[in-house]
Each structure stands twice: as C-alpha cells, then as structure tokens.
C-alpha cells in the first residue's frame, strides 16, 4: 500500500467505492475496487468469480476423439520464452502470432502454464491454446 498525505491508497479507494446516500442502485464494484476494499489481490478476487475450465480435447488422431480442438491458436510452435523478476509475468513467442502472456490469474496457474510452455518448447510440440480478448493465453493443451 502506498502512503500519500498520511492516508493509504487503499483508504482513498475505499472512499471512492463507499455507497452514498444519493445512490439509486447498488454500486457495481470493479475487481480493483473490491480488492482495495478487502485488502486482497485482484487475482484473488477474480479466482472466486471464474470457474476453472477442464480439458476437453482427445489426443489428436485418436479413433475415440469426440470433440475436435476448438482452440483459438494451434499449429504454432513456441520459439522463445520470456520472464522477468515481477510476479506472474511469463510470456511465450508463438511462431506466427508473436508474444503472448501466460495467464497471470494465480501463482500456481502462472507457474504451471510456464512449465507447460517450457515443456512444449523443449519437445517441439505446438500447443493448442485459448486466448482472451487482451491476447493473454488462458488455457493450453500440449500433446
């Protein structure tokens, strides 16, 4: 928490988020506002809202495959990896689509995606990945 003018940033956000007598409906709080209110990380707030997805793909080419890959990105090998010292800031370079960030939703999620991407790079397997509108990779199958 940053301190300015003797008041914490959280406290100032709290003021902004607090209901007012003139409100005519409940205040819609963003994840950031909720995080400030409850002194949590944004990621922790979002974890509650978003249900984890499960794998649905069958091994490519298997006779029993009932659902094809509906992944947004496929067939592009990972040709580079990037990470820095800040938390959950791992990226991969897909051969055609370029740099994509691995979902920073949670510590374990970011770590497991990083391990999976590194594995895909090591074995030369092009992943089947989903990305959100911001271009972040939110799920990845690697065969």
């Amino acid at each position: 928490m940053t301190i300015a003018n003797g008041r914490s940033k959280a406290h100032r956000s709290l003021q902004a988020a607090a209901p007012r007598p003139t409100d005519t409906m409940p205040r819609q709080l963003s994840a950031e506002e909720l995080a400030d209110l409850f002194a949590l990380n944004v990621a922790e707030i979002e974890v509650e809202a978003a249900r984890p997805t499960e794998p649905r793909m069958s091994p490519p080419g298997s006779l029993s495959a009932r659902e094809g890959a509906n992944s947004a990105l496929s067939g592009e090998p990972i040709t580079a990896l990037w990470a820095d010292q800040s938390n959950r800031n791992a990226w991969v370079f897909l051969q055609t689509s370029g740099w994509k960030r691995l979902d920073p939703l949670t510590d374990t999620g970011s770590t497991v995606l990083t391990l999976l991407a590194a594995h895909a790079r090591a074995v030369g397997s092009a992943p089947y990945a989903d990305e959100n509108p911001a271009g972040t990779l939110t799920a990845m199958h690697v065969w």
């Binding site: 006779l63 979902d103 939703l105 497991v112 391990l115 999976l116 939110t138 065969w143």
Partner: protein, 371 residues
Amino acid sequence: MAESEKYDVDAIRAALRKREVPWEANENALTRMSPSQRAKLLGVPLPNDEEQAKLNARGKKIRQEAARSAARDATALPAQFDLNDRGGVSYVAGVRNQLNCGSCVAFGSVAVLEGTARYTRGTPTLDVDLSEAHLFYGWGSTVGVDCDTGWMPMPALTFATNRGITYESEWAYSPGNSNGGSLPSTWEQHRAKATATADVTNNIQSIKNHLTTYGPVTGCFVVYTDFYSYHSGVYEHVSGAQEGGHCVAIVGYDDTLGAWIVKNSWGTSWGMSGFGYIKYGEVWIDTWSNVGVTGVYLRTWTAGKKVLGAYATGHDRNGWIYVQDIGWLKVGGLTGTAHIAMFSDLLTAKEKSAYINAFSDDGVVTQSYTY
C-alpha cells in the same frame, strides 16, 4: 420341460421357418445343459400376473410405435449406435460367463459400470475389470440375495453408487463363490463408484439418449425356451414356455433392424460371440427394468502408463495430465508447491516418454512415481 428331455433345436428352427422370423437358432453350451442347469442361469424373479399383463401391454405399445415410425422423424439421434463397434473400437469388450448361478443382475450391472467408465472418458482400452463377486456375494448378500433368489438392477446399481465396488483382481468371480473369495479390508483404495443411477425404463427415446450420452443400460426380460438357442439375427419369442427372468446389458440399437444390441453373460458360445439383437418391445426388454449410471469415479493406481498430454489454465492448481488408456486426470495438491512438484514430475515423464504410476483418487492425482 422334464429333466431328461433333450433341448430340441430342430423344432425351434422349424417354428422359425414357419413364422418366417429373422433369427437363427443353434446348439451351444446352454442347449447341451439339463433344464435345471439352464434354470439356474436365470437371476431375475418373474413378476406376478397383474404386473406381467402391464408389461405385455407396454411392450405391445412399443412394437406398434416402432412399426409406425418406419419413416424416421428427424431427431438428433443416429439411426444406429453400437458401443461394441464405434468405428472399429469397442467400449464393452469382454463377454463374461456367470456359470451356474443366478447372478445375471451383477453381470448386467457391472457391464453398465465398465462401459460407462470407458465411454464417458472416451477411452475404450481403460482397464476397468470390476468385481461381480463383490456386487453379488458382497452387497447382494446384505439384502438376502444369492444364486437362487435373483435380484434387480436398481438396488444393485444403487449399491454401486452409494458404496462402490472393487476390482475383479481384489475379489474374483466364481459361481456360488466356490473359490472362497472375500473382500480385502483395503478395497476402498481400489474401487469404482457410480455418480448416480438413471431409470429410463419404458421410454425408448430416453434409453437411446442415455446410451449415446453415458453408456449401457440394463435390460431385464422374460426368457422363453427358444431364447437359449439364439445364435444370430433379431430375436423375438416364437416357441417354448416362460422359463424365468434374466438380465443383460443393452449396449446399442439399430433402427433399421428395429432392435436393441445386447451383451449377455453366458459366454461366447451363445449368440454372436456373446452379443445379440432383441426386437424393440419384445419380452419386456425395454419395459421392465432399464437402469444406467451417469458416470463412474475410479480410485486406483494407474500402474505403468505413459503421459500423452497435459493441460493448464491460469486458475489455482488446475494442471491436468492425459494418461495412456485412462484419459484426463487432474493433478492434486494440498498446496501450490505440491501441485507444481507433481505436475513437473509428470511433465518430465511426458518429455522422456517414461512410465508413471500415479494414484488417482476419483480422477485427482494425489501421489505419483515417475521412472
């Protein structure tokens, strides 16, 4: 039939020819038995006359509807569906033999569990050989069931749902439990458990929906004398008396033949290598007791298998592995560190094409060896 009377396959063939009914009779292991030995194989007690009349009326209605819908209306279901042959692959392989004990309900129920376990995972080679002995001599005996009393599918599959049953390797089947098998105290670490039962009795559409969505259902029916000699074609009762009640697993259907595809538990000399066709609405096959399950949890070691795929999202501890013959398993972990440790080990196995042995607790890996 008198005990000394020989089973007359020729007479049955003559009756079939006379009625021009499209199935073939043949000698087999059952036709060579004595009448009392055959009677022993029937493990479902026949209902009273009033109930029989009701079942007969239901069957008649189904036969009439089936005859009318020769021109199929456009439903989402295919005209043919066979779990024993999905593009050359079977989810219900392995015909068993109950031998001389009226344990058919256990065999039909286990066929439902095994077929559903494989089909819902999309893994036809999943190793899931479950213990009919546990279901029949274990759970069945707690409610007074034995080789002579018979049983019904709903209570059997309810035990499988609420309590679970172990694998064949823990308690192997023998007629009358003559091998003296019993339940090991550690059985709950090696067991299957159904998610819920589904009663689709007397509803053709529901039976077909269940087959195509989840897997097999049971089918109990009245056995007439001619049924023992069924060899191929679409069975309907032509000759002989009521012998008793029996239970099989329905594993598919064929609208062009107007028949259910069934998996029996009388060995491979009966029918088409142990399978057969029974006409829609015949002998109460679709009106008496059709029960399935909606899924099967498995708690077991994977044994030596390879990791073929992996999956992850940004959510907390949501790493998964795809194990050869088994399908997707979620990697567990009481802490994030534990999850990452197991996931990392299993990913290494994938990279090296090495064998793993992981403990799957109802689909979640809680321990893993990587070699």
